[in-house]
């Protein structure tokens, strides 16, 4: 059964379509890569999936015990964050906010969850460090740990390897791969087609030719056209 189902979905800003006619579904345990050139509407699609934008037409539905708040999100870094005085611990804990409702302070449950995800991302030794002094790869791990605190079943990653050096990129893919192996559904935006083919189970290409299917079907389709 599909966790996310899109039928004839059109996405965009202010009623202006950026991308339309999207038909795809994401099942539990899938690793979907959304690829396409800059400006093809990948980020717009992601914002729609997260509920930050409303679909312009078509349908977007969640099922299989999933609601929109079960999606963990790894956004692209903003300028604000590069200068932000905050410890790794404070940032990871803030991921637990969405389960707290009106409760003002973190309790034992949140702290345990944060510690668990810090272990999972292997950043125990960075716990007390200041976020802005970390390397790009380390910062991404911190934000991943935060995303895992917010939701444990689906992760949406927006260009998780942007601006990282080659070694950090490999580590990032391995880390995301291990999360996928542990049963988390991954949806990743990327323009790194090579690595997408290496790790993903499904591809959604929103470039010139819109394509959705398994990685094998994608390879075949490419062979035909090349």
């Amino acid at each position: 059964m599909a966790q996310i189902q899109c039928k004839q979905l059109a996405v965009g800003y202010d009623g202006q379509k950026v991308l339309s006619g999207l038909d795809f579904s994401v099942k539990a345990g899938d690793y979907l890569c959304v690829i396409g050139e800059n400006g093809s509407g990948k980020t717009t699609l992601m914002k729609t999936l997260l509920g930050l934008l409303k679909p312009i037409s078509g349908s977007l539905s969640f099922s299989d015990g999933i609601s929109r708040t079960d999606i963990g999100y790894l956004p692209q870094q903003t300028d604000v964050q590069r200068d932000f005085p905050a410890s790794v611990w404070e940032i990871v804990l803030s991921g637990c906010q969405n389960k707290m409702g009106a409760k003002p302070f973190y309790g034992k449950k949140e702290k345990t969850a944060a510690l668990e995800n810090i272990h999972r991302m292997k950043i125990e030794d960075l716990r007390r460090r200041c976020y802005r002094e970390l390397s790009g790869g380390q910062q991404q791990r911190v934000l991943l740990a935060r995303a895992l605190c917010a939701a444990g079943s689906i992760l949406l990653l927006d260009e998780p390897t942007a601006g990282l050096d080659p070694k950090a990129i490999d580590e990032m893919y391995a880390l995301i791969g291990s999360l996928h192996d542990s049963g988390i559904t991954i949806i990743m935006i990327s323009h790194d087609v090579a690595n997408a083919e290496k790790y993903a189970t499904h591809i959604l290409d929103v470039g010139n030719r819109v394509f959705f299917g398994t990685i094998d079907a994608y390879r075949k389709e490419r062979e035909q056209h090349d």
Partner: protein, 284 residues
């Protein structure tokens, strides 16, 4: 030196000086709390814009010959804070342009009203007081003292209750929104708190200097400290320390209260910058 102390203890025995010190300390505490958020969310201009709105509102209250101008000023400033936040989101008129429009507009309207309907014979004195605070902190009525104390305590309580949510929405608004939280509501709370702080701080430093009171302690703390909590605590301490020192200095040297406090803040900022440079690393 003993001369200085006897002079100081004489002044400190006056109730109005005591009130000024209590209210000034509380205002300084409040104003520093949201400084980090304002600086990092690039909201500094909203704070500045709102302080001009508060000037306009105060002018209206003066013209209406209200005994206590704080409630009306508070109402108008809070409404404008909400309005500015909304325009920032819709972006039909770009955020900074909207702020410039509203702030300069209120300045003009405020001064126009004050000149058309002079409350006293000394208009430029009145204007100067509202813009730079001068001695208004020393002339608070008991009613205003209690209102200021009450509002300050409310601001501190609100800040503590929403501390974690303010952190989340400051650090990453889209993540907060995407994980199903009411980022809009938290932004609104931040804006309302800012508005309250500005109206409070007008008494201490006047409307032109409020931004300094909000931003300098946060910037100083950010030079040296590296976690959100330590920066917030340090900013609060710096702000209270500078306000107290500034007020005492202004009493002794007979200088304007607001600008003395701001100059103290600037000196501390320079000291912290040097410390930050020596410790290495911390940029801002």
């Amino acid at each position: 030196m003993t001369d200085l102390f006897s002079k100081l203890s004489l002044y400190l025995s006056y109730p109005f000086v005591q009130y000024a010190l209590i209210v000034g300390t509380l205002i300084a505490l409040c104003s520093s709390l949201l400084g980090v958020t304002l600086v990092l969310k690039r909201y500094s201009f909203i704070g500045d814009g709102l302080s001009h709105v508060a000037f306009g509102a105060m002018a209206i209250a003066t013209v209406m010959k209200l005994n206590n101008d704080m409630p009306l000023t508070l109402l108008i400033t809070v409404l404008c804070a909400i309005l500015l936040l909304r325009t920032g989101q819709n972006a039909k008129i770009k955020g900074d342009a909207a702020i410039a429009m509203i702030s300069v507009g209120s300045l003009a309207i405020g001064y126009l009203l004050m000149s058309l309907f002079p409350g006293s014979s000394n208009i430029s004195g009145d204007v100067c007081t509202t813009l730079f605070g001068s001695t208004s902190i020393l002339t608070l009525s008991p009613e205003e003292v209690w209102l200021s104390v009450g509002l300050s305590i409310a601001v501190v309580l609100f800040f503590i209750l929403f501390y974690n949510k303010i952190f989340a929405v400051t650090f990453d608004e889209s993540f907060t929104r995407a994980t199903g939280q009411r980022a809009g509501l938290y932004n609104l709370i931040i804006a309302v708190i800012i508005a309250v702080i500005i109206v409070l701080a007008m008494n201490l430093v006047g409307s032109l200097l409020i931004s300094a009171l909000v931003i300098f302690p946060a910037l100083s703390a950010m030079r040296v400290f590296k976690t959100f909590k330590s920066v917030t605590v340090c900013a609060a301490i710096v702000s209270v320390f500078c306000a107290l020192l500034g007020m005492l200095a202004s009493i002794l040297l007979a200088t304007p209260v607001g600008s003395t406090i701001v100059v103290t803040d600037i000196i501390v900022f320079i000291i912290f910058t040097v410390i930050g440079k020596i410790k290495g690393g911390a940029r801002s």
